[in-house]
């Protein structure tokens, strides 16, 4: 243990504790901007400076360790002056038009400037304006960037894609897409982790709420919405509802009150995905096709973009099943349109997703009889959903639980857990067991694929299951840096699996790039627990027992992997 005094308080901390952590453990929160534990400990913003007794120069609390006998002041006149000066300097190069900023009210720079009572900026305003393609799903506003480097570090250390880098030197040093590329030319997976780790509003998703409002205003359109499993685990955080109150039923109510004609839960198409992917897996596995390489899940578009650019040789091992979003879109424009007796052109499909990459995934084309268009017409993130609810001035406390619409109403616990890392695998195994054995396994039989904690074991959860004399070797991984490491091991022959689930965002969709942002906190694991809780309390736990899915097969798709299913629910991934 190390003994020191912080702000007059005698404290004792473990060796190798940073001054910031030592202070925090003792109730003193030192303000910071660039710091992200384990990811960005580079002391760039200089906001966390503290004074050491006897030293003239201030030091940063974030990356210097507490030493025996230190006397630290976190709020001395010198510290206050310099911290204030530093924030004023940052503001001189920051576009402070907060009212039009997506992060207004959830901005670490805004908060610290307010806390320090900075009411005027004594310096010349110098804003940097880099060109950007505003049609791309990921948008960077250089005038808001404070060069904290978090985006560079998250993409580099967590996602292993190095999309961002510093550019230029000296006073003109800035952040831009690495290798002098544009964002479209880069290998960006659109995971959106740079957005959720940005302390300000320099990075955001393209706002598509305007398209939704436009469709809602169009009398000729039948607007149909779906809401992904992970959305229910997080939307309440931003709107002031406790997890137990922030139900999917209330999202349905909100959407209806905004004018959506039919609301559905993506859990339904998650079950549908399991039917398709489960049968596909059993077929590919038993045919011996997976002897050298496993089958990979295909529901995460960030992962699909990643594998295409980084491991093109593995693309053919992807499941051909479309993601639940795309399957649902296809079902809405075919099966559901038929049910309503309208042409698919009339149907406008909206997805509410925890994800930025889904905005690019929707570009995938759908051909059905005379119809040529898209499965999904517009994708909004969880954050955009909350903005829409606010803009429709719907008071959250007035929302009521309503059911989703028929005939695609049913959902099982297996579909709900799609939003957490390991969920797709567990759901698939529950049904694969049934496909092979014609009987249900114990519902908790495949719990071993669940993650034990955020980024535990480098985001990888391996498991092996015996179904009769068959052994199925599985791995679940989340986070693209972790994924790269695992794929390298698979490629080198160090490990072998039959079935691998990949989610681009650490912790799965609950930690997605479209989810509410809490600076410095990783909430994926907690949100995932919420989904597992919901699963436990669902009446149905197996995708193959979803009555509405079964009815849809009976009325429309015939059976899993049928010709029609292949035309509408599968896709060919091209390298």
């Amino acid at each position: 243990m190390v003994n020191l005094i912080i702000d007059g308080k005698q404290i004792s901390v473990k060796e190798n504790t940073t001054i910031m952590e030592a202070a925090d453990q003792n109730g003193i929160t030192i303000p910071s901007l660039c710091y992200l534990k384990g990811i960005n400990e580079i002391a760039a913003c200089r906001v966390c400076v503290v004074e050491l007794e006897g030293k003239e120069r201030l030091i940063t609390a974030c990356n210097n360790v507490a030493e025996e006998g230190m006397i630290v002041y976190t709020n001395s006149p010198k510290v206050r002056n310099h911290r204030r000066n530093t924030v004023e300097l940052l503001l001189s190069q920051h576009d402070c038009l907060c009212v039009t900023c997506m992060r207004s009210g959830n901005c670490s720079l805004q908060k610290i400037a307010n806390d320090l009572d900075i009411l005027e900026i004594p310096f010349k305003k110098e804003l940097e304006h880099q060109p950007w393609n505003k049609k791309f799903p990921l948008i960077r506003d250089s005038a808001k960037c404070i060069k904290c480097m978090r985006c560079i570090q998250v993409c580099d250390k967590v996602q292993g894609l190095n999309i961002w880098d510093l550019e230029g030197t000296g006073s003109r040093t800035t952040v831009n897409v690495a290798g002098h590329k544009t964002i479209e030319e880069s290998d960006c997976s659109l995971c959106g982790q740079c957005i959720t780790h940005c302390p300000v509003g320099a990075l955001r998703e393209r706002s598509d709420t305007g398209k939704v409002w436009k469709a809602l205003a169009d009398k000729d359109k039948i607007v149909v919405a779906q809401v992904a499993p992970a959305v229910r685990a997080a939307w309440g955080e931003q709107i002031g509802l406790a997890p137990e109150d922030a139900t999917i039923g209330k999202i349905m109510d909100a959407l209806k009150r905004m004018g959506v004609d039919y609301v559905f839960d993506t859990v339904f198409s998650a079950d549908l995905t399991i039917m398709e992917e489960g049968h596909e897996f059993v077929q590919r596995f038993t045919s011996g096709e997976l002897k050298n390489r496993p089958m990979f899940t295909s529901c995460c578009p960030g992962w699909i973009r990643f594998v295409k650019s980084q491991f093109p040789q593995l693309v053919r091992y992807l499941s051909t099943a479309k993601s639940p979003q795309q399957m649902f879109g296809a079902a809405m424009k075919t099966y559901f349109a038929k049910e309503l007796g309208v042409s698919p052109d009339k149907i406008f499909t909206i997805s509410v997703m925890p994800c930025v990459a889904k905005k690019a995934e929707r570009e995938m084309e759908l051909f059905y009889e005379e119809y040529a268009g898209h499965d999904v017409d517009v994708v909004v993130t969880t954050r955009e959903l909350v903005k829409m609810i606010r803009s429709a001035h719907i008071r959250p406390d007035t929302l009521e639980d309503i059911e989703s619409d028929r005939p695609m109403q049913g959902g099982t616990g297996a579909g709900v857990i799609f939003g957490a890392t390991g969920g797709v695998m567990e759901a698939a195994l529950r049904s694969a067991y049934y496909i092979i054995k014609k009987e249900n396994p114990p519902v908790d039989a495949f719990k071993a694929v669940r993650s034990q904690g955020f980024n535990e074991n480098n985001g990888v959860q391996e498991a092996e299951f015996a179904i009769d004399d068959i052994t199925v070797r599985t791995a679940v991984v989340s986070g693209l840096g972790n994924t790269r490491a695992l794929l390298n091991k698979i490629e080198s022959g160090e490990v072998h699996y039959d079935f691998v689930e990949v989610m681009a965002c650490p912790g799965g969709c609950v930690g997605g790039g479209g989810q509410p942002i809490h600076d410095g906190q990783e909430l994926a694991f907690e949100r995932g627990k919420n989904l597992y809780y919901l699963d436990e309390n669902m009446e149905l736990r197996f995708s193959h027992e979803n009555p509405d899915v079964l009815k849809m097969y009976e009325d429309f798709f015939e059976k899993p992997n049928s010709h029609k299913a292949h035309m509408l629910l599968h896709t060919e991934h091209v390298e």
């Binding site: 400990e41 580079i42 002391a43 760039a44 050491l52 030293k55 003239e56 120069r57 030091i59 990356n63 210097n64 360790v65 030493e67 880099q130 060109p131 480097m149 880098d165 510093l166 550019e167 230029g168 030197t169 000296g170 006073s171 003109r172 040093t173 831009n176 002098h180």
Partner: protein, 610 residues
């Protein structure tokens, strides 16, 4: 009434003089990789501030040039801007009244030509192609990328053995380099911005002197692969060390009776005591490296025979033959190549030079080694004969100073013209043509004859130290590509058409420094490992101490002292004294820890493995 006054500088003058010094040191330690367009802008602003304001081109023109460069940087320029800049720069160069103006414009002009690509990138894409890529100056400039801030911090804490272990991750010759490394690491040390560069080599010497015997780390499991290393110099031994650590059985073929190559047979004992060299070599051998002494490849064994027996072969034979003057009489008795002269001394074949006059031709480090060795062998008078000035010598400044202190005569601006030989075919002296310094060509002052008559310098022994060559014949015959007297490898140390054969050290780079040979050894060791189908990692488990948080108040640099010149010339014992522990602690404490403070904490601060 007084007619004249004594000038005394104002307070402002004194301060600004100090700031000039600060700026000089700052420029010296400028980090590599900066945007040259932005630097041109910065320099130009300084130049413009120096203008007296009398003349139009300088007073106004430099300012206008500056606006144009800013337009380029701000993305407001077109290709036409470049033309205007070039015309304006030439105009100022050709019309300004004094050097303040025309030299400033010349700097801009040189940049417009020299890094036009950068200008165009800014204009066409509004982006800069430069990025800050070398965060820790000393590590960036060390060819072997030794973790310098790491071992300095360990020395500061008195953890000398750990310092040696950490150095060995990248350099298995810590002791040797503590004595004789040319320390390119010190050139851009950021501490220079405060006061003076850290004495990095001195601190390595401290680690080596105080650590005692430090065993090498354990080798990886044996791979069953066998690697032959031809030549037991710094490259061959370093590669053997790392390959052995990776689990490959390595055999070194050495033509001489002992290992070390130029370190033993080129560098005199007074600079690198042999028993200290043995400290490094013994640690390397402890890993299990096998050695075949007295075997010369091409004479005693062919490379083809070796290839048959080993899975991979590394050629690291060094540059062991000398360059010739090309003058008549060069084969006379008493005319010696420096390599041979130093090797004989290294082998203890001592030549008595008592009462003799010795002349050494050349101005490099080998030349200094030769004169100082000759002096120690009892020569009455030892001279360096050099075509250019002392300032133009390629030898390290300390070596020249050491030689001068030991009473060596510096016969500069004298180009060898002919060798005078007596009837017994023994050298009697050398005629030299007086030279004068002339125009600067490619950054170096050239010389031309003064037109005066040749001068005669009598000597009993004439040593030629104008460079070394590589014995390439056998390798060339075996199909190894050779050009300009060097073995030509790819950047990985391999050859296109000879799988399993690699080359490194002086034989591939041409005569270079120890640390470059070691750096080359790392490259070939890693690539031989890959070639053999492995991917072993070399790393160190030594934990680097956290940096001290003291204020960095200016403090002088501890330089190593030397034994008294008059006494040290009487023996071959080491010349340089090590620091005391107290000095070492103070010196190590000066380190700014660029691995932790500045860009190093963000990117590239510490390479923990290779």
């Amino acid at each position: 009434m007084s007619r004249l006054e004594i000038d005394s500088p104002s307070r402002a003058d004194i301060v600004i003089e100090g700031l000039y010094k600060d700026l000089e040191r700052r420029i010296e330690s400028s980090p590599p990789g900066l945007c040259p367009v932005d630097m041109a802008r910065a320099f130009l602003e300084l130049c413009h501030a120096q203008t007296c304001g009398k003349c139009v081109p300088c007073r106004i023109g430099l300012g206008q040039l500056n606006h144009l460069i800013k337009d380029v940087l701000d993305g407001k320029a077109t290709m036409e801007t470049l033309e205007v800049m070039e015309e304006t720069a030439v105009s100022i160069m050709e019309s300004a009244d004094c050097a303040i103006g025309y030299e400033a414009a010349n700097m801009v002009y040189k940049g417009l030509i020299g890094y036009r690509d950068d200008y165009i990138e800014h204009i066409e894409r509004g982006r800069c192609i430069c990025t800050y890529s070398q965060p820790v100056p000393c590590v960036s400039l060390c060819p072997a990328r030794v973790d310098i801030p790491g071992y300095i911090a360990l020395v500061r804490d008195g953890r000398y053995a750990d310092a040696i272990r950490l150095i060995r991750k990248d350099n298995p010759f810590p002791t040797t380099c503590g004595f004789i490394c040319e320390h390119p690491c010190e050139a851009r040390c950021r501490r220079n911005m405060v006061d003076d560069a850290i004495n990095i080599r001195g601190l390595k010497r401290v680690a080596a002197d105080f650590a005692g015997e430090v065993d090498p780390p354990a080798c990886a499991d044996s791979t069953g692969k066998k690697v032959a290393v031809l030549g037991g110099g710094p490259c061959g031994l370093s590669a053997a060390y790392y390959l052995q650590l990776m689990g490959h059985q390595t055999t070194v073929f050495e033509m001489l009776p002992k290992l070390g190559g130029m370190l033993r047979y080129g560098i005199p004992n007074y600079r690198l005591p042999k028993e200290r060299l043995d400290d490094d070599i013994n640690s390397i051998l402890k890993t299990g490296v096998e050695v075949k002494y007295g075997v010369k490849v091409g004479t005693d064994i062919t490379i083809q025979e070796i290839q048959k027996e080993y899975d991979a072969v590394l050629i690291a034979v060094g540059a062991s033959t000398d360059k010739k003057l090309g003058l008549d009489g060069e084969n006379a008795e008493g005319v010696l190549p420096a390599v041979e002269f130093l090797r004989d001394v290294g082998m203890n074949h001592i030549m008595d030079l008592t009462g003799k006059e010795v002349a050494v031709i050349g101005g490099g480090n080998v030349s200094m080694d030769a004169v100082r060795t000759a002096k120690r062998l009892g020569a009455k008078k030892v001279s360096i004969v050099y075509r250019r000035r002392i300032a133009d010598m390629t030898a390290l400044y300390d070596e020249i100073e050491g030689a001068v202190a030991e009473g060596i005569e510096m016969q500069t601006l004298k180009a060898p013209a002919s060798i005078d030989v007596d009837e017994n075919n023994h050298v009697k002296g050398i005629y030299v043509t007086p030279q004068m310094v002339s125009a600067i060509k490619e950054g170096r002052a050239s010389i031309r004859p003064t037109g005066e008559e040749d001068i005669y310098i009598p000597c009993d022994v004439l040593i030629v130290a104008i460079g070394q060559n590589i014995e390439t014949k056998h390798f060339e015959d075996a199909g190894v590509p050779v050009a300009r007297g060097k073995i030509v490898t790819t950047s990985t140390g391999a050859f296109k058409d000879m799988p399993g054969v690699f080359a490194g050290g002086d034989s591939a780079s041409g005569p270079a420094t120890v640390i470059k040979a070691i750096a080359g050894a790392k490259v070939v060791a890693a690539n031989i490992d890959e070639y053999l189908g492995y991917h072993h990692i070399i790393t160190s488990d030594v934990e680097v101490p956290v940096p001290n948080l003291d204020d960095r108040t200016p403090c002088g640099r501890v330089n190593l002292t030397e034994r008294e010149a008059g006494i040290r010339v009487c023996d071959f014992e080491g010349v340089e004294n090590c620091m005391t522990e107290k000095e070492a602690k103070q010196e190590a404490n000066r380190c700014l820890r660029c691995d932790h403070f500045g860009y190093g904490i963000f990117k590239g601060g510490r390479e923990k493995l290779w």
